[in-house]
Symmetry: C2
Amino acid sequence: MVVFRCGSKDVVTSMKPTIPDPNHDHRQCVDQAIAVANRICRQNKTRFTKLRRRVLELIWTSHEPVGAYGVLALMNAETEGNVAPMTVYRAIDFLIENRLVHRIASRNAYVGCSHPDSPHAGQLIICNDCGRVGEILEDTITKAVAAGAERVGFDGVSSVIEIQGRCHDCRELSDIHGNAGA
Amino acid sequence: MVVFRCGSKDVVTSMKPTIPDPNHDHRQCVDQAIAVANRICRQNKTRFTKLRRRVLELIWTSHEPVGAYGVLALMNAETEGNVAPMTVYRAIDFLIENRLVHRIASRNAYVGCSHPDSPHAGQLIICNDCGRVGEILEDTITKAVAAGAERVGFDGVSSVIEIQGRCHDCRELSDIHGNAGA
DNA sequence: ATTTTATTGTTATACTATAACATATTTATT
DNA sequence: AATAAATATGTTATAGTATAACAATAAAAT
């Protein structure tokens, strides 16, 4: 089973979609992310401040991962202010601790989390063509990792699982245009 | 099935060991790594130069991952010379391309590969206590990832799988000393 | 109101990685 | 062997990522 969130609802599917449709209403993604963040932080008794909210919104600018300095640039572009890297990193750390954002270790970049409520660590799927990132919750992967870890005597396991390839949309595009296309 | 290399032989086991025993003869690990590298590079028709060999040896200093600048420091400590970062990075890139070394994305560090011949990407197990890194080849994980990727329409998949926890040795130690121990 | 705790501001610096071009070495070709 | 082509290394500079340390502010608890 694949769970993925698009707009205001969870989509449960056995095949598609993974990374949101290019034509989806992205404002809904952002709105929901903020709404969920508000709730999660209330639950966690942590403070979803103006700064943290702003950083989260900027990370949710798209489904492509953003670097910390990318967020910084967006902030400084908007406000003509002079935000320091430290400020951004602290906000990102907070968001990660509250599971609202994922760090993509293989890219030194960050992406909004699609299921901050889920107790499981998801798997990130990263399209090398379009650069977008999605998140899947494959029980078989989670279980296989847990079983593998246990088998070798590993305790208290957390995992970084980043799957890189070409997404469904990009594959369709390339099928249409043919392999020899520029 | 878990495959792992200790000294001069492959160990196939369903439970232990994972990260080599603390008392193992590490010189054998290094010697074998160099021997294998020689063979692999001959097969690949790439040149296993003195510099590359030296960097590989330094990465194999232990089973803990080393940063590029760590290798650099070791080199400059040994020779009183003045090696530049670029030199180390180039050697590391070569070693990675020839599958003799893994990059640990979650730590910006590098570790010798235990099975450069295997066509499969392995999974790294990283002990947060002792810092050592091992490598497992869990078919169930590989297959689950491939299946998950395919299910969501992903192509040409490569994966970063880094499992973090506490290794068998460290768990035993902590069991002996009790949980309340300092 | 005051103390405590958490958040943000600010400056400086550490750590990681690559670009660009020069030189040297090895391999292939004549 | 001499030359050309390809590969590897040296060198300098710089880009990109992340954190330390301390000051100032704002919110929560007593």
